[in-house]
């Protein structure tokens, strides 16, 4: 599977790079990423949860880190999911801010529980998943939060509530800078 998406964020490239490079920020805008923590130098343990609650975990290695330009990672050998990705940062023309381009590749074992979980994680259209993550990233950097509406506040995937106040549902934890 391969996805490539871009978004323009109206903030300087240094600020955009720095926010992404602090990997503790990633769960705030990456929908399925539950947690990421450093294990040892340049290695990170990644925990993802699919919409139905299934978990998948794997280790990645930071293979490139060029400040204000590029971050690249690769899953370590033997990981359940073989994935790699690169984020490019470049100053947008005409004072528009920063262009952020994400390339993501992954293969998962075709069958079995892990294969199904990964398929659920990334959905039918992994490009759309990446795009949504980038939209939220942009919102957090430009406005401070991911905006929710009455219809989308508890939405998983496409299913939505009616567009009316929700009353006594669980309190949200919107991503904050």
């Amino acid at each position: 599977m391969h996805a490539r998406k871009a978004v323009t964020v109206r903030r300087p490239v240094e600020e955009v790079y720095r926010y992404w490079r602090d990997f503790q920020n990633l769960p705030g805008f990456m929908d399925h990423l539950r947690s990421i923590h450093a294990t040892f130098e340049k290695r990170y343990h990644w925990v993802a949860v699919a919409p139905n609650g299934d978990r998948a975990e794997w280790d990645v290695e930071l293979v490139e880190d060029v400040p204000n330009e590029r971050i690249a990672w690769q899953s370590v050998e033997g990981a359940d999911v073989n994935c790699s990705g690169t984020v490019h940062f470049r100053t947008a023309p005409g004072g528009r801010g920063t262009e952020v381009e994400v390339e993501l590749r992954y293969d998962a074992p075709a069958g079995g529980k892990i294969g199904r979980t990964v398929a659920r994680l990334f959905g039918k259209d992994p490009g759309q998943q990446v795009e949504q993550d980038l939209r939220r990233f942009k919102q957090v950097l430009e406005t401070g939060e991911v905006i929710v509406s009455d219809a989308t506040m508890t939405a998983k995937g496409a299913a939505q509530r009616p567009a009316q106040p929700a009353g006594q549902t669980r309190q949200l934890e919107p991503a904050l800078r």
Binding site: R96, Q139, S149, D150, T152, A163
Partner: protein, 390 residues
Amino acid sequence: MKAICWMGRNSVQVEQVPEPRILNARDAIVRITSSAICGSDLHLLNGYVPTMEKGDVIGHEFMGEVVETGSAVRNLKVGDRVVVPFPIACGACNACANELYSLCENSNPNAWMAEKLWGFSPAGIYGYSHLLGGFAGGQAQYARVPFADFGPLKIEDGLPDEQVLFLSDIFPTGYMAAEMCSIRPGDIIAVWGCGPVGQLAIASAFLLGAERVIAIDRFPYRLQMAREQAGAETINYEETDNLLELLKELTGGRGPDACIDAVGMEAHGIGLDYAYDRAKQAVRLETDRPVALRQAIMACRNGGTVSVIGVYGGFIDKFPMGAVMNRSLTIKSGQCHVQRYMRPLLERIQRGEIDPSFVITHRLPLEQAPLGYDLFKNKEDECVKVVLKP
């Protein structure tokens, strides 16, 4: 709280729903004191807008009193009286920085839906389908207002609700329609549609220096309002053999310098092209009926501007692109960038240059909104604009 909910095609009902809560730090909760029914709400009622769900609270023209603010709202406090603009805008993205507030890049949580239909997503709008965010609307007792520190306009000088309510939508919309005409001294503007937006477009065209305004409609009471309240010359197109010829005669053979389409996707007409559009719509081959738009293009003088403020949703047939290209026509369009106009238009109201409340014909309690929709949709009881009091 009581709220007006879309319950299916041709069905809006008063329902009991929970009161809104703060969900984002820049939210405010507003207790609504006045709300209005918009012509574009009729597209929701009539089933022309996709992605509506049963129970959606509708309404996007509202004002009231702030009763709660989120932790990041610094410029509003409880008790402030505000008019809320219908497009939701963050103030921080490139679109907002360029004053294109109805194109805010951050205010539609369902942007992916709008992208599939239109290529990119515009801003979220209160009470106007899930395609535009799935936000609960303002035909209710309370509303949640996102980015409350950016859009809502404080009213501090005691002007009554009815004089300022329309700063939320229809006055800026009519004004932007006229502004897009790039009016120069001596210009004659033609306006299709004498609903509330059309009336305010006529009035705005005069504020912007138009020499004459010609208003086109088929309901005598609306044409009368256009003449007596807004100052236009009028044409009833059902009593005219050839509208385009008449417009030429009235403009020294030149055609109007600019034409405003304040009708949109549910246009009526007489003649073959209207019958064609209705037939195609019935079998879902065409989503919108561009009768007024085609006429505006054909009537416009060479090199003129067609200003499209009527709402369209999907696709149209038989668009006179040859006329547009060969005659150097400019088409300007958009959902109104309300935030751009609220302050300057409030000042015009304060100076007594215009009182937009002239369009109001009916005032109803919120519970009678379904009746209000009926009167408005069927043009009964000389209805032009319905204001609801929660």
